[in-house]
């Protein structure tokens, strides 16, 4: 891995705000998103979904649908290979293929409303929809469970008869909805609580919420007559999509090419495959390209959500404000299949602070919801809502300013997290200092029914595998090929790092996200990793190019390559110099093209910390909360393109506001999601939020040549806790349940 260079540094490209490379295509409607793809002979696939939250599928009769004029193929899980409990490593986590397959098309049992049961392809989407109504499915409905604590009861409806609680490496002897129990412990917890001057223990619960990306899932597959399968899709990871699809169809990965289209948001929800294998199977059956697009209600009912949770957090402190001990009990639902996000939840719950002793127990719990997926700092937001609420209450009871209380206990270089790792240089303290110095914190909040809240949050940010290659053009520009799908402007943040390394302008780099046959393996766009890890790959590509270009200059100058230096876009020896563009124009005379390449696999987290401040006003008669002012502060390590760093902070904050105030999955008496539309789900609109002010703190990451930490996920972690504290100061009520929707807040205010 590259060594960190000395900081602070003067950069020419990094820290500037160029127009993104894909910008003109995106503001003119030319960019091709998954649903925009059109292929000759293309037909349209649709999925029949379970109307029941939990039911045995006794039979499926597709014969009438197959006979409808215009229908070209029909499929069910019976067409797919039988997958044993094989575990596949998907980069950001392992997955049990039998479960993944049964999520894509139900095997024997429907486990949530919206669970895919069968699929058809037809010459028009309308015909496909009509065909679905001709498929006869005989169900035997079973009792359903959608609240995590109910699902943990001994007499709860059991989702799987082959899932046994895994706990500390041991497997239980009877099947259970509790798929896993996680336990961490540091120090003597009982002793530490006994030595505390003050202990606060509170219970919390949060509802399931959806990532809410505006683009529904979409996939087009062509299983060619030569056996090669090509998939065009909107995915966070084309290589993991390829791997999942190949595994589910039991074909070699070399037989599958995934072409990533532009992607309309993901936030963690577009990593698992849903449509790809089904479109592929339909294509194999009809020999034509099959396009499948989900409707919005399918997106809500069958993809995504992040877990609902039940949490208990207990924290002790001395009267001078030092934390003594922490204890957390976290139960997150995983939805219909094991493998939710309880792990990172447990690792993050106490990750902002130095705890001499702490214990964390976590439970991964099955219930009749869609299989939960990652959602921006998966698992951390729930945990931070609980932990930060208790931290605020402790600070208040101890009579210490909440920022000072955090500063006294803040995680810093050398702090050991409860789950083991020791932090390198991190920037949490700097975010707190920036909060303290901010105009927002220093301006008094005036007016009745108003309150201010502050909370912090942590997310790991990951490294993982990235590849990139770049070709030097004779006009001095560089074409960059990368495998990271671009959800929020990473083409530009990656290209800028290559430009900085080469000493050329951002505009002189032409980045392109290419398919799985055209670039080296690259992990998902997730874990806030692209600007960090793919950026690191771009830096290494730049170094590779510079090394080769120095050799070319040496040929021209008839000197030793070691005598040639590259500085700020120039190649020079003691007495000669040439610009990057000049040398690029002479490559054909010196041996031909120069192509740089790199693969990287940085390990360990890059540690993102943020602190948010919010002012709210609560209507005392209706308990409706209005956000008056918001400031998000975050350590970005180094902001490559500050506008897009700010954008991540603003977007995460507003998603967090939605989670805090309104968003939730509502289930009816039979466990069916009732509010599967944007209208009923209520995501924030432009009118629901104020401007989100941002303060970027830069404490360079020692593990990156430009100090990048990754920024995408941390901003969603603090908002619910900060909002709850603000609501407390406005109303006197500490809300321990999300969302703090008006009915719930009003009920709490009556107590």
């Amino acid at each position: 891995m590259a060594q960190a260079e000395s900081h602070p540094r003067k950069y020419k490209v990094i820290g500037t705000r160029p127009v993104r490379h894909d910008g003109a295509d995106k503001v003119t409607g030319r960019a091709i998103y998954g649903a925009d793809l059109r292929l000759n002979g293309m037909v349209h696939g649709k999925i029949l979904r379970s109307p029941h939250a939990h039911a045995v599928i006794k039979s499926i009769d597709t014969s009438a649908a197959a006979k409808l004029p215009g229908v070209v193929a029909v499929t069910t899980s019976a067409d797919f290979p039988d997958l044993q409990d094989k575990i596949a490593d998907l980069g950001e986590g392992a997955v049990n293929l039998a479960h993944l397959g049964a999520n894509v098309l139900a095997h024997g049992k429907a486990l949530y409303k919206g669970h895919a049961v069968a699929a058809v392809a037809a010459t028009s989407p309308h015909v496909a929809q009509e065909a679905l109504s001709l498929i006869k499915v005989e169900y035997e409905p079973l009792p359903a469970v959608t609240w995590v604590l109910d699902a943990m009861k001994d007499d709860a409806p059991l989702l799987h008869d082959d899932v046994y609680t895994k706990s500390m490496g041991k497997k239980a002897d009877k099947p259970s909805n509790i798929a896993a129990h996680i336990h961490f412990e540091k120090g003597d917890v009982e002793d530490a609580f006994a030595g505390s001057d003050l202990v606060v223990e509170r219970e919390f619960k949060t509802a399931s919420v959806h990532q809410g990306y505006i683009e529904p899932h979409v996939s087009t597959a062509l299983w060619n007559q030569d056996g090669h399968l090509t998939i065009w899709t909107s995915t966070q990871g084309s290589f993991t999509a390829r791997q999942q699809t190949a595994e589910l169809l039991q074909v070699p990965i070399s037989q599958v090419t995934v072409v990533p289209c532009e992607i309309g948001g993901g936030f963690g929800g577009k990593i698992a495959v849903y449509l790809e294998p089904v479109a592929a199977m339909l294509s194999r059956k009809c020999g034509r390209p099959v396009k499948m697009v989900m409707s919005r209600d399918e997106v809500f009912e069958a993809t995504g959500p992040t877990p609902g949770s039940s949490m208990r957090v207990k924290i002790g402190a001395t009267k001078d404000g030092k934390l003594t001990a922490g204890e957390a009990w976290l139960a997150y639902d995983a939805g219909a299949f094991p493998g939710g996000v309880i792990g990172p939840g447990c690792m993050c719950v106490f990750s902002c602070y130095e705890f001499p002793a702490a214990r964390v127990d976590g439970y991964d719990v099955l219930d009749n919801k869609p299989k939960t997926q990652a959602y921006r700092a998966p698992g951390a937001t729930q945990a931070a809502f609980a932990c930060e609420s208790v931290i605020d209450e402790l600070a208040e009871k101890l009579g210490i300013d909440p920022i000072e209380f955090r500063l006294k206990n803040a995680a810093k270089e050398g702090t050991r997290r409860v789950d083991g790792p020791v932090y390198p240089r991190v920037g949490f303290i700097e975010t707190l200092e920036a909060a303290k110095a901010s105009d927002h914190w220093k301006s008094p909040l005036e007016g009745k029914n108003r309150g201010r809240g502050i909370a912090s949050g942590y997310w790991f940010n990951i490294g993982l595998k990235s590849s990139a290659a770049a070709n030097v053009n004779p006009d001095g520009t560089v074409s960059l090929l990368e495998g990271s799908t671009d959800i929020g402007g990473t083409r530009t943040s990656v290209a800028m790092q290559l430009a900085e390394t080469l000493g050329i302008t951002a505009e002189a780099v032409h980045p392109k996200v290419v398919d799985t046959d055209s670039v080296g393996y690259t992990d998902v766009t997730g874990g806030s990793r692209v600007t960090f890890a793919t950026g690191l790959a771009a830096y290494e590509v730049g170094r590779d190019i510079l090394r080769q270009m120095c050799e070319r200059a040496a040929i021209l100058w008839e000197c030793d390559a070691a005598e040639v230096e590259s500085v700020d876009g120039e190649f020079k020896t003691k007495d000669k110099r040439m610009t990057f563009a000049e040398l690029a124009g002479k490559l054909s005379q010196t041996g031909g093209p120069v192509v740089g390449r790199a693969t990287v696999n940085p390990e360990g987290p890059t540690n993102g910390f943020g602190t948010h401040i919010v002012d709210v006003e609560v209507d005392p008669d209706t308990a409706k909360v209005t956000v008056l002012r918001y400031t998000a502060i975050q350590d970005a390590g180094k902001a490559i393109h500050p506008s897009y760093v700010e954008g991540q902070m603003q977007g995460g904050a507003v998603q967090g506001i939605g989670w805090a105030l309104n968003e939730e999955y509502v289930f009816d008496g039979e466990g069916r999601m009732a509010n599967a539309s944007y209208l009923d789900y209520r995501m924030p609109t432009a009118l629901d939020v104020p401007h989100i002010d941002t303060i970027i703190v830069e404490v360079p990451n020692p593990a990156h040549p430009y100090g990048v930490r990754g920024v995408g996920e941390t901003p969603i972690v603090p908002p619910p806790a900060a909002m709850a504290v603000a609501v407390y100061h406005a109303t006197g009520v500490r809300m321990q349940e999300l969302p703090m929707s008006p009915p719930k807040l009003w009920a709490a205010m009556q107590k």
Binding site: T626, D668, G669, L679, R682, T685, L687, P742
Partner: protein, 329 residues
């Protein structure tokens, strides 16, 4: 969407010729903001859709000294921007609460009044009564009716303009298949609480349609609408109220107080009216009117909160009509 035959007649009489007397066979298309979505989900599956978009007479706003006649195809934006709406603040305010440029320019007055309930069981294909009310009672009823909910219908009337229009004594001009079949119906009589899945939530035969909304001259009446919503966006209110009052010598001599989103029909609160008539509008009397309105509520398991909101909405709509500070935001 199921395939259907589309017709775009040019006149009111041509519309009538195209409408079938058989329930479910034809649907009348106005702005499409509700009907198209219902057809996509196959909740409504007509064989023929009769569009009103080419009928010029339905797009006019006509005013004389006694009334304003608004064609059913006038868009919500056109109505709010027309000078006549100055006389009817309750209407203008109700439209201004619809925070979607698109839905305001696309949605029409007639369509707004005839939109189908937002009840999520209805929208998921469980029928208007959703298993004769069982789905609501046993499921999540947070947005359902708190008044008039003793029968199987638990949904709420979704119209955001109906409370204001009922408060303003609006009438509908309804046309039917025969040449003399023109009904002038008070809007409050138009809505009904269905007792079976065969009944719709308004009194419109399959071969009738709403052509005009007639607003009597306010003659000095003050009016206002007030909505309580979760958020600020284009979502439907949790509860709304519209009040129309005639104030003489500082006292209310005549009042109409109508709640929205609380019952299968717009809910005229006799209790609130009795409480405010004869008194000046003050924060105290407005609050008392709200209390009176809420006193007869029969909330379901999950919607006690809406009773609270009913009080607030009535209070604030009265204060707003009287030009006083409402509190809240």
């Amino acid at each position: 969407m199921k395939a259907f035959e589309y017709a775009a007649p040019r006149s009111e009489s041509e519309v009538l010729e195209l409408l079938s007397g058989e329930a479910g066979h034809t649907e009348v298309l106005a702005g499409g903001t509700d009907l198209v979505g219902l057809m996509k989900k196959m909740i409504v599956t007509p064989d023929r859709v009769v569009s009103l978009s080419r009928v010029a007479s339905l797009k006019k706003i006509e005013a004389d000294s006694t009334a304003v006649r608004v064609g059913a195809m006038v868009s919500l934006d056109e109505l709010a921007e027309n000078p006549v709406s100055e006389f009817y603040p309750a209407i203008r305010q109700a439209i201004d609460e619809i925070a979607s440029l698109q839905l305001r320019s696309q949605g029409t007055l007639g369509g707004e009044l005839c939109q189908r309930p937002r009840c999520w069981y209805f929208r998921d294909g469980h029928g208007l009564l959703a298993a004769r009310g069982k789905d609501v009672v046993e499921g999540d009823s947070r947005f359902h009716a708190i008044f008039g909910n003793a029968g199987p219908a638990k949904f709420v009337c979704p119209s955001r303009l109906a409370p204001a229009l009922v408060a303003l004594d609006a009438r509908l001009r309804i046309l039917g298949p025969h040449s003399n079949d023109e009904t002038l119906m008070p809007l409050e009589a138009f809505y009904r609480t269905p007792k079976s899945e065969r009944e719709r939530e308004f009194l419109l035969d399959p071969n009738q349609f709403v052509a005009q909304v007639i607003l009597p001259h306010p003659e000095g009446r003050l009016s206002a609408s007030y909505e309580v919503r979760h958020g600020a966006g284009p979502e439907y209110p949790l509860v709304s109220a519209a009040s129309s009052i005639l104030v003489e010598r500082g006292r209310v001599v005549e009042a109409r107080v109508v709640l929205g989103q609380v019952a299968p029909t717009p809910w005229i609160s006799r209790e609130a009216i009795d409480a405010i008539v004869g008194r000046p509008v003050t924060p105290e009397t407005a609050e008392a009117a709200g209390e009176a309105a809420a006193s007869v509520a029969t909330p379901l398991r999950d919607n006690e909160y809406k009773v609270r909101l009913a009080k607030v909405a009535v209070k604030r709509s009265l204060l707003k009509a009287a030009g006083l500070e409402t509190g809240g935001f």
